[in-house]
Symmetry: C2
Subunit: 345 residues, 2 copies
DNA sequence: ATTTAGCACTCAGGAATAACGAGTGCTAAG
DNA sequence: CTTAGCACTCGTTATTCCTGAGTGCTAAAT
């Protein structure tokens, strides 16, 4: 991408017109259509330019007597140098904002709502990941007696995620004792994460019940934070179905192989994301995943307070309205960031 | 389904053979193939029987010179009277059990794992819902201070379902005060449901904060108990793609319109499920949803302890191996039930 | 009375062919 | 260097024809 072959102004205008026409219609665009569109040069002149654009690899010709189509490299040039980054138009903002305003109060809910709204807004598949946590910390906990031998451990974690876990008690206990223990644990464990809780464990051998509960909390936090990092939701598979590039079902199946496998998807996002740019665009084969060779990703991250949160992105065919998708992804990411900040505060 | 037209043994054997052949191959089955398969009657005899089976509506003929295909009614007859309910074969059990053995320790994780495993096992789309919460009576509650103006209300409901809700406080407060209020509310509200909590509200005008919280609890309980099972996960969209009935992308798009809309999906499951049977099979138009007219559902519920939990189901084309899908759905449902019992107790 | 062989008929699907037209590359004139 | 003109290419679509699996019906066999 660094070694992009530079183009003169006319070639740039033509390339831009090809991209814009093709993303709009999905049909290879010919010299005549461009001549009308640009209204500056004749079809013949444009044909000459098109030929050289094919030579340098920015355009492709599906077959000898067809129009031209941008190559991955062509899209790359467009995204890097030609695309006007327009701000999100007011109309779109007015459409999105209310949907994102009434976010649920829990993490999963925020991610799912965001994914839904974004998928609908860009008519493609959306992907939203949870904030990368540096280990889930305990914010508050409570113990509820179920019967003398069992207690329910309720934990409020960083992010206002509430989780419960049933404890089998090694000796009988009642609500009064549990409440007392809960009070003590609240004082001791507040703000600690899995490893810190584990270190704290087994301090006081005279209180085996307490040690037992602490151990359970530590174990729970460990598995929880492992899962939290992989929290990843997607939505809008149906939107891909009416794109002509997925008329062939095989293509879509390959894409879903990646998307429905959360692990793969997570690796992809991690590998693809370039923190240097506000919005990262990964085009076609740049994904380095053969199943996605005809897809592009538009990615960004949201921030939770000071620190980096998770990823918000869109996956669609390479023939995508990048200049429209990018600001929408940014907008949703911002709202996700502030919604999660609110939830996690 | 009650008014099913009864068939003599020969017609039954033929219908069964048609279903079995067709579900296996996906190709309309002709009299000759059946003659070889059954080896009891000639093709001509079978042709006569096929004609009457078409007349009574159990079979369809795609066009005059094609073989026969089961109609929704035909599948219904097959499922109700002809299907051998084989237990899950040992091989399949050995394949599924280990995947379901190492379940995550949280509710969402269990549902997602189950959906993944089931989708792969039946090569179709799987749907799993969270446990339906019975009475929405309060068992225990807690208040966590987020900042002076906001508090997190954590409620343990009947059935040990834990829910949280963020409160905006009309005046500033801190954790000490909130803990005191929580203690008081615990004593007062234990065992009360939405209407009882509402009746209790506004008792003490000298404690506006308390009244406010009680009102919030009442409101929450109301919407909570009204709300259907909100937690719905599905997996295996990719499995539908290689079914020939979804070669036409339009079909799939219609199905996903329903499946990706959790609300619709929840209503569908609620409406379709017949608690009288261990496994409910809903075939084609029986779903009463036009988008699913060429799909079938195989549903069952799992139990959490004593009470009914949520639904586990499979959605696939009507041409489905019902006799294989049903035991797999049951098996997964059982494991989900015990996994959730372990998580929630 | 039921079952079966035989046979003419139907009709979707595939292969072969033809016409179409959008778009090209090249050439020669402006 | 640009542009009009023109012969040519080749994918797409429509048309036709053929094939064969499968049928319904009839008449003979059981």
């Amino acid at each position: 991408m660094e070694s992009a072959i530079p183009l003169d102004t006319r070639k740039e205008r033509i390339l831009k017109a090809v991209v814009s026409d093709y993303t709009a219609t999905g049909v290879p665009v010919g010299s005549h259509a461009l001549a009308v569109h640009l209204a500056s040069w004749s079809a013949a002149t444009i044909r000459n330019e098109l030929a050289t654009l094919v030579d340098v690899g920015y355009l492709l010709q599906p077959h000898t007597s067809a129009g031209r189509v941008p190559s991955d490299l062509g899209y790359r040039y467009y995204v890097d140098f030609l695309m006007d980054d327009v701000a999100l138009p007011g109309a779109a903002r007015r459409q999105l904002a209310p949907l994102l305003a009434l976010m649920p109060q829990d993490l999963e809910g925020v991610l799912e709502t965001a994914a839904q709204v974004l998928a609908a807004a860009v008519d493609a598949l959306s992907i939203v990941t949870g904030p990368r946590t540096g280990g889930a910390a305990i914010k508050h906990l409570d113990l509820v007696s179920l019967d003398p031998a069992h207690a329910l451990l309720v934990m409020v974690l960083e992010g206002n995620v509430v989780r419960q876990h049933t404890l089998v008690l090694s000796r009988e206990s009642d609500q009064d004792e549990l409440s007392r223990l809960a009070g003590r644990l609240n004082a001791e464990l507040r703000g600690l994460d899995a490893t810190q809780v584990a270190r704290f464990a087994g301090d006081d051998p005279r209180e085996p019940l307490l040690a037992e509960i602490v151990a359970a909390i530590a174990a729970f936090l460990r598995t929880f934070s492992a899962r939290q990092d992989t929290l990843i939701v997607h939505d809008g598979v149906r939107n891909l179905l009416h794109q002509p590039e997925f008329e062939d079902v095989q293509r879509l199946e390959q894409v879903l192989e990646v998307v429905e496998e959360d692990r793969l998807l997570g690796e992809l996002l991690a590998a693809a994301f370039d923190p240097a740019r506000p919005v990262t665009v990964v085009i076609g084969t740049e994904t380095r995943i053969s199943q996605l060779r005809s897809c592009s990703l538009v990615l960004t991250t949201y921030r939770v307070g000071e620190s980096r949160g998770g990823t918000v992105g869109v996956l669609g065919p390479t023939r995508m309205r990048y200049e429209q998708v990018a600001p929408r992804v940014r907008f949703v990411a911002d709202r996700v960031g502030s919604a999660i900040s609110r939830v996690m505060s």
